[in-house]
């Protein structure tokens, strides 16, 4: 149970700003996901909290105590690495007991705590196994147990499931979330998988090029992304470039009424918020591809200028390739200068654009 405060932390590698003026407060028992593409600085940030990198500027406190000057072994943090980093010359028990032995705990207490944590991660009776005798998922559980047994104030998970297959990843992340909530341990979880972040986090930090794009609850990040980058990175999103003129967002294929000042803008609409209806005659676009996922269908619509948009529909039955369709956006957002300038919860039906070209599509 601990609170982590990071204030104005910057990390420079030569001239490169790996992390740029990052600040956050993580409260007791909260699970925060650091989400971003490769090179966004999320792992560097985690390594700085763990003590493996030193910030160039800024401060980090755990329960009010500055930790920047502390080496990793003195910090009240526990890190789980992507590569598991289990010590292959030790068996599972010794891997977990190593940290306890360093703390000179009595042998009986070490055994009891290791057994308890093995039970917690679902590996009861695996103590004598060698690490290479375990599956990838079991190895990651051991790595988690090795950190948890020391009862760290802050648990740091660095893409812990990246090397596992999809099914195992989904199962393990739920287990980790359960354990985290049971122990009420403050956790930072680095991932580049948005579904992972959306499913386990209390809050998500979206990072890009070392800078914070948005810090919010998963639903908020998904429904009201603060920037076009967040909009495009979380879930699927159609991003359409165009120009606002006289109260209408204009694109070569359609116009949408919006109450914002004139100028270039990017319209963002999720596939599930973009419904299709069959056009009578020539529509705003035609169906390029229909993909049936069983639970829903994804329809790729090609606009006259060649750009494609995705629309999620309940079934694939009504749609066929080359079919002329009209678009009906539900909720959408308009972005300008990397910020949202307009949001519509329920979109006004667009009207087909006149034959002149207004702006371009950049989905």
């Amino acid at each position: 149970m601990a609170r982590l405060d990071i204030a104005n932390v910057t990390k420079l590698f030569g001239a490169t700003r790996a992390v740029d003026d990052f600040s956050i407060t993580v409260t007791d028992g909260e699970l925060v996901c650091l989400l971003g593409p490769s090179g966004s600085g999320k792992s560097t940030l985690l390594r700085m909290i763990g003590g493996f990198e030193k910030p160039t500027y800024g401060s980090m406190t755990i329960d009010g105590e500055e930790v920047i000057h502390l080496p990793p072994e003195k910090r009240p943090t526990g890190m789980v690495f992507q590569s598991h980093a289990l010590w292959s010359h030790m068996n599972v028990f010794k891997n977990i007991a190593f940290g306890l032995k360093l703390r000179r705990l009595p042998k009986a207490e070490i055994t009891q705590r290791v057994e308890a944590v093995l039970d917690l991660v679902g590996l009861k009776g695996f103590g004598e196994r060698l690490t290479h005798q375990l599956s990838g998922g079991q190895q990651q559980r051991v790595a988690l147990a090795r950190s948890l047994v020391l009862e760290p104030k802050i648990l740091l998970l660095d893409e812990p499931f990246a090397s596992l297959d999809q099914h195992l990843r989904e199962r393990l992340r739920e287990e980790v979330r359960d354990i985290q909530q049971r122990l009420k341990i403050t956790t930072l979880f680095v991932t580049h998988a948005q579904d992972e972040a959306l499913s386990v986090a209390d809050r998500i930090v979206v990072l890009r090029d070392g800078r914070t794009e948005q810090i919010a609850k998963p639903a908020e990040v998904y429904r009201t992304p603060a920037t076009p980058f967040v909009a495009g990175f979380i879930g699927q999103m159609n991003l359409i470039s165009g120009v606002v003129s006289e109260g209408e967002f204009g694109h070569s294929a359609f116009n949408v009424p919006v109450a914002v000042a004139d100028g270039p803008a990017t319209l963002a609409v999720r596939p599930e918020a973009l419904t299709l209806k069959p056009a009578s005659g020539v529509g705003m676009g035609h169906v390029h591809r229909v993909t049936d996922y069983g639970t829903h269908a994804m329809i790729d619509v090609e606009l006259p200028d060649g750009e494609r948009l995705k629309s999620m529909m309940p079934t694939a039955d009504e749609w066929s390739s080359m079919q002329q369709v009209d678009l009906v956006p539900g909720a959408f957002a308009l972005y300008r200068d990397n910020a949202a300038i307009y949001r519509a919860d329920v979109g006004t039906p667009p009207r087909k654009a006149p034959s002149r070209t207004r702006g371009t599509v950049n989905a």
């Binding site: 493996f52 990793p72 980093a85 010590w87 010359h89 703390r103 020391l150």
Partner: protein
Amino acid sequence: MAETLTIPRGRIDFPGIGFAIVLSAVIIFPLIVVGTWAFTEVWRYPNVVPQQFGLRFWNQTLSRADVWSALTLSLQLSTVVTLLSAAICLPAAYAFARMTFPGRNVLFFSFLAGHAFPKFGLLVAIAAIFLQLNLIGTFWGVVLIQLVGTLLFMIWIPVAAFQSVDRRMEEAARDVGASPLRVFWSITLPQAGPTIAAAVLLSFVGTFYETEGAWLIGAPGIRTMPVLMITFINNQMVIQYGAVLSVLLWVPSFIALLFARRIIGGGAFARGFGG
């Protein structure tokens, strides 16, 4: 790795057969001849097989005091040189593997220098220096010269071993509370251990068989087993003395290799060479 390579049926592996024949001719055949001579009492031309086998020359060789003193000396030298080499080279190898410092690459490649030039010329030059330092004909003079010969193995192989240890393993140990020294002792060294053991073994065996340095720097006071063997072969009319000593000299390497297979296991030697 688990796949087994097989040769398609009906095809004869000519390169493989040729390789096996060449290997047999240059390695196994001479070994058989020397081994046979060691247990032969009478073997006259033109017989292909000795007329009389026996252990007479073993008794005569092993009853000589100079053989036992040479064997003891060789074992002492090899042990001292290997231990000193490990004490000097392993920390240096760790520094080469994990740290950056000015002149690192030049220094690293300088360890090749001892093997990059004709060794005898180098030894003569060193002998001239040792003469002034009164090290010629002394135990420590030979230790020093043989130490130079081990540097390559004891730096390059452990560097590869340390470099192949996953940094995340070391970081994970720091994370659970281990100091850098404890990380080295409990994680890095055991992880690199088998490969380093291979280097130590190569050093020991290499030193045991080293002849040029021991002869040039050690003579006349220091006579190691290989030096004694060469003396026997050169000065004795009877072939069997040299043959018996040759067979005796195989013993340490056989023991070392058996030991190596038990503690190191397959692959460690290959890993040691970056394989």
